[in-house]
């Protein structure tokens, strides 16, 4: 649509309402500059335009609103009102710790069983592993058996002695044969307290065994000594685990016993603290 004599009034109205494009505006201004009559008409239209006038709404305070006034409080804002918001965050952390410890325990168990299956395999490429784990494995689960078995062995050997000795010694001299009986009985009696104490001394047992079988045959005496020494060795290794600088083996990983104990202590302390906090 072009500006002409018929539609100029419409253009003037759009001009005062600021609804024209820049080019249309320029065209209207050009017309007004060249035509004073039309400029007068524009002035008449501008005269009926309302001029900005300030009217105040006097009671604005009645319009103001705040979230606290709302009955259904915003949940985010509600949270900030509670003191326990921090405590709840802590509880979440504790839960996380439980999960962590649980997962660690699961890993530890799986490693333990993994080691067990490895040990059960007949051929191992690492001799150190066999040396370290095999004795523990053989001793610990069968602790009672390993202790009892040698006793049985000694008893059986002494029984044999009892059975055999009269046959051997009967002919040369009866006195010696009679004397062996209480001595052997004393040996078997002495063996049990020594084993139970688990502080077996090699020299003591050796002398005792020697004294017990003075009159016995040399071959039987040797066999009993060897059995006793075996027991002593096995027990000695078990006792040795109480050393301060003990080492824990998990698979082929060597762990410092003291450090491990320190970690467990800290964990215990942490759980105790959490418990007390929870109770509070």
């Amino acid at each position: 649509m072009e500006l002409n004599q018929d539609n100029y009034e419409n253009y003037l109205l759009l001009y005062i309402d600021n609804e024209l494009s820049a080019s249309e505006k320029a065209a209207v201004e050009l017309l007004l500059a060249s035509n004073p009559k039309k400029a007068q008409e524009l002035k008449a239209l501008q005269a009926v335009q309302l001029k900005p006038e300030f009217v105040e709404f006097s009671d604005k305070s009645s319009l103001y609103r705040f979230d606290e006034m709302n009955a259904s409080l915003d949940p985010a804002f509600k949270k900030t009102l509670y003191k326990s918001s921090l405590k709840s965050a802590k509880l979440i952390d504790i839960k996380k710790i439980y999960w962590a410890t649980g997962s660690i325990a699961a890993i530890a168990i799986s490693i333990f069983f993994g080691v067990k299956t490895l040990v059960n395999q007949p051929q191992l490429q690492q001799p150190q592993l066999v040396a370290s784990i095999a004795p523990i494995k053989n001793n610990i689960p069968n602790k009672s058996v390993s202790i009892l078995k040698p006793i049985e062995k000694t008893l059986s050997t002494t029984d044999n002695q009892l059975n055999n000795q009269p046959q051997i010694i009967a002919q040369p001299n009866q006195v010696i044969a009679d004397a062996t009986l209480p001595i052997i009985a004393s040996v078997t009696n002495n063996d049990q307290p020594i084993l139970s104490k688990e502080t077996l001394n090699a020299d003591q047992t050796a002398t005792m065994v020697e004294s017990s079988s003075i009159t016995a045959d040399n071959t039987t005496m040797n066999s009993t000594i060897s059995v006793e020494q075996k027991i002593e060795k096995e027990i000695f290794e078990e006792i040795n685990t109480e050393d301060n600088d003990r080492v824990i083996y998990i698979s082929n990983i060597e762990l410092d016993g003291d450090k491990f104990r320190g970690i467990t202590r800290r964990l215990n302390a942490l759980f105790k603290r959490n418990k007390s906090e929870k109770n509070k």
């Binding site: 759009l14 309402d17 005269a47 006038e53 009217v55 709404f57 319009l63």
Partner: protein, 163 residues
């Protein structure tokens, strides 16, 4: 929309909305009630109202409230306004041109009056006015032009009479 944004809207638009209504209905108390209702609705719907369109939302609500109010009261009819605001042009001093224009505007029908107020006071374009008053852009344009020419004629008549 937060409560802070809402209260900012009160500071920014309460005067404008009130001016628009009070110039239309010429009744301060009723205008105040309409403004209160408009802001009440804004507060209720603050989460759904587009923050950019808060002003036009307020004017839209206020305008429709005003239309309802006019229908209910039946006080502010065109003829009534014309009768109450009719002045003898002979006794109208020249310097009171502004008052003459305002009175002439009061002789317009409520729709025309609202169109002129939204255009001249608030500076809305035709499209925005159409959205507030539920009219098409071309309707707004035609109604405003008609109102302007009507006012111009009235004013020239008054000026001629006073001269």
């Amino acid at each position: 929309m937060t409560d802070i944004a809402y209260n900012n809207a009160v500071d920014q638009y309460a005067d404008g909305v009130y001016r628009f209504i009070v110039k239309n209905i010429q009744h301060e108390e009723d205008a105040r009630d309409i403004v209160q209702t408009a802001f009440e609705k804004l507060w209720i719907n603050r989460d759904t109202v587009d923050p950019i369109k808060v002003k036009s939302y307020l004017f839209t609500i206020a305008y429709h409230q005003m239309i309802d109010h006019i229908r209910k009261v039946k006080k502010y009819t065109v003829t009534d306004i014309y009768e109450t605001s009719s002045i003898d042009p002979v006794y109208q001093p020249q310097h009171e041109l502004r008052q003459t224009i305002l009175k002439a505007i009061n002789e317009l029908n409520p729709t025309q009056k609202s169109l002129i107020l939204l255009k001249d006071y608030e500076g809305y374009n035709y499209q925005e006015i159409g959205e507030i008053m539920n009219l098409s852009e071309s309707q707004v344009k035609v109604y405003i032009h008609r109102a302007r020419l009507q006012l111009k004629e009235k004013l020239s008549h008054l000026q001629k009479a006073s001269a």
